[in-house]
Amino acid sequence: MFWASILPNAVPVEALSLGDAASQRMDGDAFAGFYQRSARPLWAYLARVSGDQSLADDLMQESYIRFLCAARPPRLEDGEVASRRYLFRIATNLMRDHWRRPHSSSIEELPEELFATQPNQSDSQALLSPALRLMKPRERQLLWLAHAEGYSHGEIAEITGLASASIRLLLFRARRKIASHLREQALRPTSTELNCEVLRREL
């Protein structure tokens, strides 16, 4: 080989791409199984926190690619829970980087249609989407990880990079805030109720 004659210690590309990190990586079948179990929850997290489904598609794919390319991925013996946590951490960092980029739109500038209520949504969903829109991105992340994914404070700290002690307070405040928004939304008359009221008055 040409490089070997110039540099005796040169390592071929194939060997580099399947180095030490690769020995700890999942094989094709293991990854396919892990992907089937973890992709939908990850997409739901990204879509709900960002409020943008196409962004969620992009970030989800990038998260898995980075997961597969990671220099020090979670060891197989750590189990799927550790791998899933690691994946959510990558996704959280990607979302944060996206919001930090000057050219990208901030979550506060996203159009309201992204959070608009869909016609086939249930009552609680019709309330949750507008309430989520009123929360800060960090609060949405914390709430989703705690209440939708069921992660503990320690696990959320590991995923978000925040201190475990501050998670408790941040989560407490966020939960109180979204609960009050949900109650306010529930008390407001829906568009159907308003139409009925208008018709009743006209008659």
């Binding site: 490089w3 590309v13 791409s17 990854f31 396919a32 969903q125 994914e149 069921g150 405040r173 939960r175």
Partner: protein
């Protein structure tokens, strides 16, 4: 703001996540959840989020796992190639720096000889009115006397050889890279 947790929170959370809330739980726990602010907030928020999660997971359009593995493999390969090429970039920088140093040394050494050259050329121009039509032979002899001294030959040969070595190395590297 008090952060005191309610002792029933963990159990209520577990029941909601298991899908056992509110029908498959103790009636006293339901009564408690209505009266306790923290537990009522927990029920309200957690049920809404779990429903949202179920709805969103069913709406996801996922690419195949094989496609992601292929893209990851391409990226790993590109990163490996970049790692291999990094030392050669250093060699290229070193080669360019050496070339510049040689050129600078050449200019500095020749600057001292410039006066001799100028004098020789000046003499040639002054002799032009008295010379015949083919006065170029005189120009060659006057300037070559300066150039053909032994230290003068070495002065030209060394940079030229070094230049050839550096350029040859670069050509070999570029040819290998293309290969």
């Amino acid at each position: 703001m008090t952060l005191t947790a309610c002792p029933h929170e963990a159990e209520i959370r577990r029941l909601i996540q298991l899908g056992a809330w509110p029908h498959a739980c103790a009636p006293e726990l339901r009564v408690h959840a209505k009266s306790c602010r923290r537990c009522s907030e927990l029920v309200l928020v957690t049920t809404a989020f779990i429903e949202a999660r179920a709805m969103s997971t069913s709406a996801a359009q996922l690419p195949s796992a094989g496609m992601l593995q292929w893209r990851a493999q391409l990226r790993r390969r590109a990163a490996a190639i970049e790692r291999i090429q990094r030392p050669f970039l250093g060699a290229q920088i070193f080669g360019s720096a050496a070339l510049l140093a040689i050129a600078a040394a050449f200019v500095i050494t020749q600057a001292s000889r410039g006066w001799e050259w100028a004098q020789a050329l000046g003499g040639w121009f002054l002799a032009l009115p008295h010379a015949g039509p083919f006065h170029l032979q005189a120009l060659w002899s006057s300037t070559s006397m300066v150039m053909l001294k032994p230290e003068g030959i070495l002065m030209y040969l060394a940079p030229v050889l070094l230049l050839l070595v550096v350029i040859g190395g670069m050509v070999a590297f570029l040819a290998a890279e293309k290969h």
